[in-house]
Symmetry: C2
Subunit: 343 residues, 2 copies
């Protein structure tokens, strides 16, 4: 098996910089579209055979160094008692957002293995299929990010409901966050038990917080989950979107690898995370619309700067966009493999 | 006249930290709502008597140290040939977005004094009304931010049209940006000529760029406008929203004052901008939902850290939200005036 990704996560010597891409399985791939023509998104997430099939597509098509479970960050919210829908226009919608003590009391800390069997079944199918290929990454939304969905009822512009709860009723906010943190922890532990060889925690919305608020209302919960997952013995990646102002705090997360979005120079990010960090990122997903030559220049620049860290895993700074030409994604993976340095 | 704001912009000695707030005239004020009950947003912007009246409201109600012209960053786009509408749900909409050479050729560099007389009339009315009160700030969208509206046709999630034009047709992108830059420059020069005593350039969307792209596709145009406005002799404030990863580049803008959003610690921002900087910001607008005591703690923290710069003008990190309780905004201004330090 190609274990270069896992070795890079552990800060071990690697022959070249490994690469995988957030949303590498997704709408930009015609093979994915073909599957989605017959099933909606949530049905696909819950069907182990189909979810495994789309997980494998980019491994075969792109030649990436890791597979990531096809699923959604919001999946653990359903067994917590939230009703989840995906609208094509407005994105995820959760009915009855939680903004009061009584609503918070109704939130369930689920038995994830019982309630989300399809996730662990998908992982088991995938581990067999990937046996001689690449490692499998499991994932979950981070506690704060899941909290925003539970409190807002979907995505938001200003996240005012979340911040109002934080600021005006911090005990209810903390109570919600503790329930989510327990859920995330057992969810990721069960993914690891089923066979996930690394996990990524996506803090998609923590970047809306000031550093002081991040430190108080988001970081402690991510940190707690990470510390409890530590004993499972697999690498933990923590990705905060829009992280540029938060890196001093993120540095305390305890994760093995820190994912970085594209709005900061990766060399600067390494400086703020400390040279002992292992960093993942950080090409702008829109850079996949550059002409090949210019795309390669950017890849080289990120590889060069990534070298200042103890380890570097190449990735985008956010997910592949649906409009992206597949050949450019292939070219990206090739370029990383061509120019990625031994370490 | 209370000229403490202007002196702070110039790095001169001040008795306390001056404060004004982005969107201090707006929907959170019942007095503003009363005016808007009779006219739509764009009509209000174009009526000098009414626009002046709402500009003055926060000066009287809050006691801020500066007034800012009531208008919209997109106003200069209409005489450039774009049709502008404000939809309550989707925000600003511009028909026929510019994404080709032929469309770019049709963009007009307007005679702003002829085409936007209401702006300069409003400024003249305001200067009389403000004579013994506070200085008047004029403003415009920054070239890049206006470019995104022209190219996207409104706001956007990923700004893919803008980045595609940047990446795939940089000469057309540059051509559009030059026309916008000329427009912004003459628009702000005419505001100054009419009586604006300082100007703020809002780069609301530059924070979607990687530092390398910001340096190439946004900064040069802002810099050019700033350098040409220099000779007008009034302080120039440059505000980039979501600036945390871009401060090393923003430092080169040539502006007198740098506005900073709330997603970075203002002390960290000063470190990256250099201690000779004059900084403006940076309270999270949602912090106006905190209980008074906690709001005051945050104010003190920002004032304390702002002191590390050569000068500090207190502001929010973004505009006042419509849902904000007026009494909290008043409390904020009072707190800044109570705890703001002599310098």
């Amino acid at each position: 098996m190609n274990d270069i990704f896992l070795r890079a996560c552990r800060g071990e010597k690697v022959e070249y910089t490994p690469v995988w891409l957030m949303r590498q399985a997704g709408r930009y791939l015609p093979e994915y579209q073909a599957v989605r023509a017959h099933v909606d998104f949530l049905t696909l997430c819950k069907n182990p055979k189909l979810a495994a099939a789309v997980t494998l597509q980019p491994v075969d098509i792109l030649g990436v160094d890791a597979a990531i479970l096809f699923s959604d960050i919001l999946i653990p919210l359903e067994p917590m008692g939230m009703r989840l829908e995906f609208s094509d226009k407005e994105g995820p919608l959760l009915s009855e957002p939680v903004r009061s003590k009584s609503a918070a009391e109704k939130l369930i800390i689920p038995d994830v293995e019982e309630d989300l069997p399809f996730v662990f079944d998908t992982i088991r199918v995938l581990r067999k299929e990937l046996e001689h290929k690449v490692p499998l990454i499991g994932f979950s939304g981070a506690p704060f990010t899941l909290g925003t969905y539970i409190i807002e009822g979907g995505t938001s512009r200003n996240f005012l409901h979340t911040k109002k709860l934080m600021f005006q009723n911090s005990s209810v906010f903390g109570y919600v966050m503790e329930k989510i943190t327990d859920t995330v922890t057992s969810y990721l532990a069960a993914q690891i038990k089923a066979g996930a060889q690394a996990v990524q925690i996506f803090d998609t919305w923590a970047g809306i917080l000031s550093p002081a608020d991040y430190k108080k209302f988001a970081l402690p919960y991510a940190k707690k989950a990470i510390s409890e997952l530590r004993r499972a013995g697999v690498p933990i990646i923590y990705f905060v979107n829009n992280c540029a102002g938060l890196l001093k705090e993120i540095r305390q997360s305890g994760a093995d690898v820190t994912g970085v979005d594209w709005r900061i120079d990766i060399g600067e990010a390494v400086k703020r995370l400390g040279k002992k960090c292992i960093v993942q990122g950080n090409l702008d997903p829109c850079a996949l619309f550059l002409p090949r030559e210019k795309l390669e220049e950017r890849v080289k620049d990120i590889l060069w700067k990534g070298e200042t860290a103890r380890g570097h895993i190449f990735n985008l700074g956010h997910g592949v966009l649906p409009q992206t030409p597949v050949e450019n994604v292939t070219a990206l993976v090739e370029a990383v493999h061509t120019y990625g340095r031994a370490k």
